[in-house]
Symmetry: C2
Subunit: 322 residues, 2 copies
Amino acid sequence: MKSSSKISAIAAYLPKKICTNNDFKKIDIDDEWVIRRTGIRERRIAGENEFSSTMAINAVKNLKKTYHTNIDDVDMIIVTTFTPDYLTPSVAALVQGYFDISHAGTMDLNAACTGFTYGLCVADALITTGQNKKILLIATESLSKILDYADRNTCILLGDAAVAMLLEESQGEGLCIASDFFSDGKKAGLATCSNLSQQYNEMVLKNKQFEQDGRKLYEYVLKNVPIGIQALLKRANLKKDDIDWFVPHSANYRMIEALCKRLHIMLQKTLISNEFYGNTSSVSIPLALWMASEKKQLKKGDFLLLYGFGGGLTHGGVIIKW
Amino acid sequence: MKSSSKISAIAAYLPKKICTNNDFKKIDIDDEWVIRRTGIRERRIAGENEFSSTMAINAVKNLKKTYHTNIDDVDMIIVTTFTPDYLTPSVAALVQGYFDISHAGTMDLNAACTGFTYGLCVADALITTGQNKKILLIATESLSKILDYADRNTCILLGDAAVAMLLEESQGEGLCIASDFFSDGKKAGLATCSNLSQQYNEMVLKNKQFEQDGRKLYEYVLKNVPIGIQALLKRANLKKDDIDWFVPHSANYRMIEALCKRLHIMLQKTLISNEFYGNTSSVSIPLALWMASEKKQLKKGDFLLLYGFGGGLTHGGVIIKW
């Protein structure tokens, strides 16, 4: 595939409120059990009036502050989220409005937890064809707004966060080496959140609440994601050992351990964001990238394999050169 | 911009139930008043168990039947909608699941009524960069599900529909000549539909119901869309007279008359879909294309200027060569 974009900035926003495992004592959950089962110690929770757009705007503020960068000439804003404030306006339009960016397109993109890898490929493609010159790509999720805090299967797992990235034209090599995406819509019932429909096949869904069958999703991921990753490597004409960093969707540390074992990838080469932030859906991959970039773990020229999976069901990813 | 895709098939699905202007007599609305004010005679209403995914699937069934075409090798499904069945799974994943397409990415894209023009540019870009080879691009809206049928300002205007298109690699010239997108998120309050947030600034929003300030939107469109269209023509290095067909979002016939007057475009060169289908949001532009294609109005090589506007607020479009 042709690619001529580069990532020129990345910043995150994490809501102030920390929810520890001990906060779930009232539903009979203890710290050690959560850590053993998921690797999660804490997650952040958005305030009552803090939504996906609020967090996206704060991530962009942090990006501007950190890089002293101008975003007035951004000509496209792409937001990946499955938890937008409104059905309309889009989160992207609210970001544009806040910063009063004078001439930018705005779209929200939903592929659930796989969303960021799609957003990155779309942003890269729009720059590569010359349609856009400077794109603000933001992943933002206010998952606490769709959680039933009495449901032990979901509420301990998810957290709120946003990450903003700036993509621009690259003079040299492009960012994306190869991408590959898969879907299994027949298994859609394993991870659902209602909207205009309150029913999926025979299942009656709770109103605007995320529900999942954790065990079956685990089996699905362990069976299908290794196949997808092998296909992606083949498409990139790369071998597993060429990859410097493996960045899977940070759903669950135990799941990632099992994936690494199956794929013979060293855990040390893996970037994970869920220990202090939980599963942040489409934010989890860029959050891991931001954390690694803050720690100066990423070197120019490193090959990164980003791979998402989740609601849809969907899985897929992209290999990029940092 | 570089472009190397072509549209190889287009088909529509229209729900069976017809709602005429006389059906609004109970809210004191008469046929002639609606026609004079909006140009709308009828609109289609999805059945109780018919959602955006159901209509999208039916549009794809019609596409398969009309073109005797194989969609098993589709490698990406992009759905434009602001009325998805669920927050997750996406409509695109449900379409993939229904047709059991073996190896396809799936994403939903929301830019409200401007959504289709974004979807077309994204699909074209993914094919042009070589990331995808065959894309199913579907616009689908179940607007009746977010209407208050006591609200005279909205319920008479909107209708349900879906259109599916197939985009493939072009051996010769590409489809897209130029695109240009604008947003005005500061004016987001003029067209809203709640989701996880029930409030926009000081406005309390009705639960999952579409609300708009028709008069202010009319003024916004009349002021901004002509500027956007002039910018798009300039970017394409084309003059207004080079355009064979002007395909604006079919919001309201009177609005389109006024736009044409301001732009000195003959109404006869305009493709409109709202007389029998109402304002179908992101479906209105592809629906007008499908109607023209059914009537054999479009000739190979025709220049078409597609231009959307609506919730966000957003406006923007793309010039394509048929």
